[in-house]
């Protein structure tokens, strides 16, 4: 039986990997290549950072991306901009209405504020990002704004803002095209204190095609 998650891909699959629940993942995606992220079991937040491969002081900027499209939600066609205003990747298709880029990444420290110090010892996205970045010449100064694919952070009229139940479902996907050579760094979010992973972190699949 044909693999349904390969349907509609342009070009051949050059990398295909399942990120276990709670784990980091880092991969170079070259200009013109596509990255498909599959939310295998549904409502799994995929926290993602981008660095320009040629100069990793240039990196994804949520604020530049929001300002350029005058919208906080990432939908099909969204251009993911760097801190220097260049397009790093484009969302070419998404089966989920929109994705978050204002909610940031969970950390041991922010968990201590949001839930209490009893959560300080739990694993968190920032520790995944640091773990992977430290092996690739980057450090804490390189922790900046991120995207949360498959995560839902609405803003109410009075400014109330929060991570709420997801709008994803098992098998939904998002497709990205690299507009420059990028280092993609993902934390398959381990959070268990809010609905971003349905209180149950699960694996996701990363498919690179060219």
């Amino acid at each position: 039986m044909a693999d349904p998650y390969l349907a509609g891909l342009d070009g051949a699959v050059i990398h295909d990997e399942i990120i276990p629940a709670r784990a980091p993942w880092m991969h170079r995606v070259l200009a013109g290549q596509s990255l498909r992220i599959v939310d295998l079991e549904g409502n799994q937040a995929v926290d993602l950072l981008l660095y320009a491969a040629a100069d990793d002081a240039e990196r994804y900027s949520a604020q530049d991306t929001i300002a350029a499209q005058a919208n906080i939600f990432l939908r099909t066609g969204a251009r993911l901009l760097s801190n220097e205003g260049r397009v790093m990747m484009t969302i070419t298709a998404t089966a989920v209405d929109y994705h978050d880029t204002i909610g940031g990444a969970c950390s041991c420290e922010s968990n201590s504020l949001r839930y209490g110090h009893h959560t300080k010892a739990q694993h968190a996205c920032v520790d995944n990002f640091l773990d992977a970045n430290l092996r690739d010449g980057r450090g804490k100064r390189d922790m900046v704004s991120n995207i949360n694919f498959f995560m839902n952070v609405p803003v109410e009229a009075d400014g109330a803002l929060g991570i709420v139940d997801g709008i994803s479902a098992p098998g939904l996907t998002v497709d990205l095209r690299a507009e420059m050579d990028v280092i993609v760094l993902v934390s398959n979010c381990p959070q268990i204190n809010n609905p971003c992973n349905g209180f149950n972190p699960t694996p996701v699949r990363m498919i690179v095609s060219a």
Partner: protein, 272 residues
């Protein structure tokens, strides 16, 4: 043109400038005739008018108060904050809005670091229009809007202003982080649409911040990144004075469980 063909003539020419004033300049030693009545003139730390299109940076000690005044109603103060003792700890805008369950910053809100601590708190705010979402203008956006965005030109962009500001504290490109824009507002619609608010605003709107840690503040004063008007920005006044470290029963400190834990984490850092 004065003939300055020898060093002594050049020296005399340079020295003759002493006492000159400009609209945008620091006052040294600081003097301000409009301090709150409970602030002693000797506690004044900083008095500077930041140019339209300019920037400034300052180290502020825990307890210091920082008053920013939008003198002519068209300033846009894009700010960066660092833990002065360990600048890898810096303002985290996403945590600031997420932890406080609130997108629109105002009096009583905290500016949180990426280490679960409160860098500064907003003590007073009669502006009510601030922006945690759109960030700083950059060279590309200013080139599109004004034809040029360079630091050496007439339309400098906020990001490159912040770069110069952080550089003067030994920091660089990896350290310019998402910023908060004070005095220019933004509203978010249910569909995610972002609507900026450029005024016109009243003259003299004021924000009073309190340093909850020893911080490095960097501020750029350039037009908001989404400002569609011809280049428009007016000077920003910064005044800082010494103040007491926030008490345990401070109403801002006590206001929320998340905020109490952020202050508790600050206390823990300074428990040496």
């Amino acid at each position: 043109m004065v003939a300055l063909n020898d060093p002594l003539a050049a020296r005399a020419h340079a020295r003759a400038m002493e006492g000159s004033t400009a609209e945008a300049m620091p006052v040294l030693p600081p003097v301000a005739d409009d301090l709150p009545t409970d602030v002693a003139p000797g506690d004044l730390l900083w008095e500077e008018t930041i140019a339209a299109g300019g920037y400034a940076s300052r180290r502020l000690s825990r307890g210091a108060r920082l008053r920013l005044i939008d003198l002519q109603g068209d300033a846009c103060a894009s700010i960066q904050l660092f833990n002065a003792a360990m600048p890898t700890e810096r303002l985290n805008v996403a945590d600031t809005v997420k932890v406080q369950w609130n997108a629109y910053l105002g009096a009583g809100n905290l500016l949180l670091s990426d280490m679960g601590r409160v860098l500064m708190s907003i003590v007073e705010d009669d502006a009510g229009t601030h922006d945690a979402f759109c960030g700083a203008s950059n060279a590309a956006s200013n080139t599109r809007a004004y034809g040029d965005g360079s630091n050496s030109g007439a339309f400098p962009n906020a990001r490159d202003r912040l770069l110069l500001g952080v550089a003067k504290h030994g920091l660089g490109r990896r350290d310019v982080h998402p910023c908060i824009n004070l005095f220019k507002g933004v509203k978010i619609a249910p569909d995610g649409a972002v609507t900026p608010d450029f005024g016109p605003f009243a003259l003299g709107r004021t924000v009073l911040l309190r340093a909850e840690m020893d911080v490095i503040l960097v501020v750029a004063n350039c037009p908001h990144v989404l400002d569609t008007r011809p280049w428009s920005v007016t000077p920003l006044r910064a005044t800082a004075w010494r103040g007491p470290i926030t008490a345990q029963d401070d109403p801002i400190r006590k206001a929320t469980p998340e905020g109490r834990r952020a202050f508790t984490n600050v206390d823990d850092l300074y428990r040496i």
